[in-house]
Symmetry: C2
Subunit: 352 residues, 2 copies
DNA sequence: GGTTAGCACCCGTGCGACAAGAGTGCTAAG
DNA sequence: CTTAGCACTCTTGTCGCACGGGTGCTAACC
């Protein structure tokens, strides 16, 4: 949110109030709101005509527009933006919702399950789609590595990280290693690197490869080479997320166009584009909101994305988000995303 | 297909031909087909009036119906059924499609990837949704089991099956075991059970528990108990499937009702009901077709499911299916499902 | 000057009428 | 048994029309 396009726009108190009420009431009702009802509900004790004048100004500033002459007004993207940045009063979550989140995000679950339930909770509570990226492994701490020969040239690598996470991958070796050789290599790597995070491990391995190659014995050389193979593969294996509750989006008249909705769903499946969008906010701290075209991605043109990074220790390890029609209940979604991010972070954190 | 409700219905050659053409032409066009066009395209050299008479008979038999007086005719479920059972001439797949399948289902892929690509291929080729169940592990052959202590009471079990499949799960032990104890237990289990399929392993373990309990030493007893824990957990871990191309279904006007479509998608996510449906055909050999309400499951009322079990060795290990509107190109989908099932089976088989 | 009432006007929506077209069912003749 | 003919039904599209919500503008008002 470093660039705030609304900073410049000056609004009288009344205009501001009217915009706020307009957005709220459009979010609630989903229909263009006219001057009469706006005047009534705003509690400002002004006539519809006055409201119309104000609306004309807001329209000039690009904050609202009519879908056609003589329907009520609808907020534009910029209108939502202004609303969100300047008028949004977040309403704290109900205690029972918080309890539900806290219960669901049980620290004893595995990474994958945590991500999945987080996504499910986001969606279930907001009645919108939830997205949670799989946490980056780079900062996970290596606890143990083991090798297991499977068949000619294919070796199973078992990687235990943090307290409980297990990851296995199969690598191909260019020459056969004996079982005891593999054991020694594992021992070497464990002794040297257990307790460091994967990023550090990889850096360490690269250093060793570069540097003192000649004073390594064969075993060490093999260990380093093999390790590098493993950890480069692991670091590639990221960039994934879990979506829950796509179907919720089929409930909203706003997105009733089957074709657009299809494109949106396909985008969810394709993942790539969504990932790049989520990446954008991985280092914004706190909740971030993309409204309509702000996401700069066609399938999301009529959607808003409310996202927040989640943090383990000092490090941002992932992002979660809620996706729904532009016309969503921001005042509820924002705190939901916020708190879910915190709870997910701490659930992951407790597991070390 | 043991019960064939159409066996009884006698049809003149002409009626049969007309029904066939009607179904084909409705599948192609999606609109009720009238007597005039039917007469023309059937190539029978009869007048529309004659066709109308035949249609009246077919309607009496419940094979076709009009959406209302004086629209063309549409096949009923029973009509489709008759068509599929008695008139469907499967058209062999194009060679390039077969190549695409064969290439995609690379035996060197892991189980999970195979299932995923199979599902994707089914969907991509048919432009419908594809479903493939994860292969049952029961008949997979145990190659090796290893234990790795992780933290107090939590032990990682690594299970290598067939040539290349790795599965790991974490179990809780009621008492702590030393590393060497675990190693011995693993050795015991490996010696005794490597090469047998998981079902046999489990049976064996249960036998040992039941039977000769007293002449086992402590180690054996522990091994048996632990093993039982593992293999009972593994056998529960099944009953899953992978869906691909749900979004394709949003393309068809037949399923344009957003609500129904939502229910369908939710059914895909819920999985349970779909699984029970797929279970029904796991032991029918060859392709099976559920048309509309035949599936006996509301969300699928306007869909057909074309399914086939896939086989490794002698054993059916899973089912795959294509789901689409009742009005689908059966003559293409049937061979597609058939061949994909064979290729998936053999891809899994090659991997031992 | 800001605010308001009044008024002309615009435009989406719903409704009824109407014609066209497609298709049927029935009957009577071949 | 087949077919032509015909009356009838029902959907679809279009047009016109009235209605109502909402606007923009202007002129009066405080």
């Amino acid at each position: 949110m470093s660039i705030d396009p609304t900073e410049q726009i000056p609004l009288t108190d009344r205009a501001e109030r009217l915009l706020k009420v307009l957005v709220e009431s459009y979010i609630r009702g989903g229909q263009p709101v006219g001057s009469r009802s706006l005047a009534r509900v705003a509690g400002l004790d002004v006539s519809p005509a006055t409201v119309r004048n104000v609306m004309a100004d807001l329209a000039d500033m690009g904050l609202v527009h009519s879908p056609h002459t003589s329907a009520g007004r609808i907020p534009t993207t910029l209108g939502y933006r202004t609303f969100v940045d300047r008028m949004l009063k977040v309403r704290p979550l109900q205690q029972e919702t918080i309890d539900e989140l806290r219960e669901g995000l049980d620290p004893s679950l595995g990474h994958h399950d945590l991500v999945e339930t987080a996504s499910g909770l986001l969606s279930g509570i907001s009645h919108l789609a939830g997205i949670v990226t799989v946490p980056r492994a780079e900062r996970a701490v290596l606890r143990r590595i083991e090798f297991l020969e499977m068949s000619e040239g294919r070796t199973l690598v078992i990687l235990v990280t943090n307290q409980q996470e297990v990851q296995n991958l199969i690598i191909r070796l260019d020459r056969p290693y004996s079982a005891s050789e593999l054991e020694q290599i594992a021992n070497f790597l464990n002794e040297r690197y257990a307790g460091k995070d994967l990023q550090a491990v990889r850096r360490g391995l690269l250093d060793e490869m570069d540097g003192v190659r000649r004073d390594m014995n064969r075993l060490m050389a093999a260990a380093v080479e093999l390790g590098e193979k493993v950890f480069s593969a692991v670091s590639k294996e990221q960039d994934d997320y879990i979506v829950a509750g796509q179907t919720e989006l089929m409930r909203y008249g706003d997105l009733c166009d089957m074709n657009k909705l299809r494109h949106l769903f396909e985008a969810f499946n394709r993942k790539r584009d969504i990932i790049t969008l989520l990446d954008k906010c991985i280092h914004a701290d706190g909740v971030q909101i993309f409204i309509g075209q702000e996401s700069d991605y066609k399938p999301l043109n009529e959607c808003s994305v409310v996202s927040a990074p989640y943090v383990v220790g000092e490090d941002v390890v992932g992002v979660l988000a809620v996706v729904g029609p532009t016309r969503m209940a921001y005042e509820k979604v924002v705190p939901l995303v916020d708190i879910t991010a915190r709870l997910l972070g701490s659930a992951l954190n407790l597991r070390g």
